[in-house]
Symmetry: C3
Subunit: 133 residues, 3 copies
């Protein structure tokens, strides 16, 4: 089973909580036990699990910015988003989680986030694939 | 098949080799071919593969500390562990590996580690899910 | 289904596009729908998805080098590659992707790369496992 949905973003770097959307897909699938792969088919965005707390979301952006600051990127002569590509690759564009009894297994403080790294964008695609087993 | 076990940690940041525990779960499952997902349902811990060498384990901690030092984190006004959340998200809280002939596929220098990032903790839960295919 | 192939590398740090090789394995598998795990059984190499643009590949190396520079690594007294191990663990040694209608799901700018972090090496092994579901 595969399902897609879209998210719009407002800032160049932004964390957007997609936990409810992903859990909705799991519920509707009626799959009892299996794996779920949450994936963005983009190379300037990422998927992470972290706590949804407003201060922490800003802290994340500060760390991400520092990781790619102070460089004179060659790619920026073509397209001004070397930072976005590199952060996307560092965070990863997909996460695999477990389903048990039709529930996504995650910790209390593990919310699922799309990390926008080259926004704003009207449509960031998220693909959720559920594998029963 | 899903199995949980717990690990206690002693330091704020610490690498703990869980290879034997994970391989024990694989062996007991009797699954010949499939995938295994090793996951911590925590947002201040991670799972990595690296070599189990005492110097390298300390080198890891030095790099992790530097990644999150020099910031005035907003989240720390609520809970003093923004660093832990961010490192957990950077490392990832799960890894997917392969099983062939009931053996976990990994390189000689690839040991599986729980990375404690907000210890010490009495019980860090590790969930191992094995999918036959 | 599991398939291995080998890649030779020329530099200490290097990004090598393996998209065609992985897509060839998917095609030959004739699997219509499933998951594919691309994995290196090495602890001084990684797998990432990023754009195959020559400037960006150099930008990646600059960021990786900076992440592990300025340290006096203990592991280097034994083997001069603490940087390689740590970067390998940060990037991750495997990525899980989806297959739909016998095609690997990936974005236009998401090429699959082996990241050599302790080269040159004559043979870096890549293992591709495909799970039908």
């Amino acid at each position: 089973m595969i399902k897609e949905f879209y998210v719009s973003t407002e800032d160049r770097y932004q964390l957007i909580d997609i936990t409810d959307r992903v859990e909705g897909v799991v519920r509707e699938s009626k799959v009892k036990n299996g794996l779920v792969l949450i994936f963005v088919p983009h190379s300037t965005a990422g998927i992470i699990l972290t706590e949804n707390e407003s201060g922490l979301k800003q802290d994340w952006l500060a760390v991400l910015e520092k990781l790619v600051s102070g460089f004179d990127f060659l790619h920026n002569k073509i397209d001004n988003n070397a930072d976005s590509h590199i952060l996307s690759g560092l965070l990863g564009q997909g996460k695999t989680l477990m389903i048990e009894n039709n529930r996504l297994i995650r910790g209390t403080w593990q919310q699922i986030f799309l990390v926008e790294l080259d926004g704003p964008r009207e449509q960031r695609k998220i693909i959720v694939k559920i594998v029963e087993c």
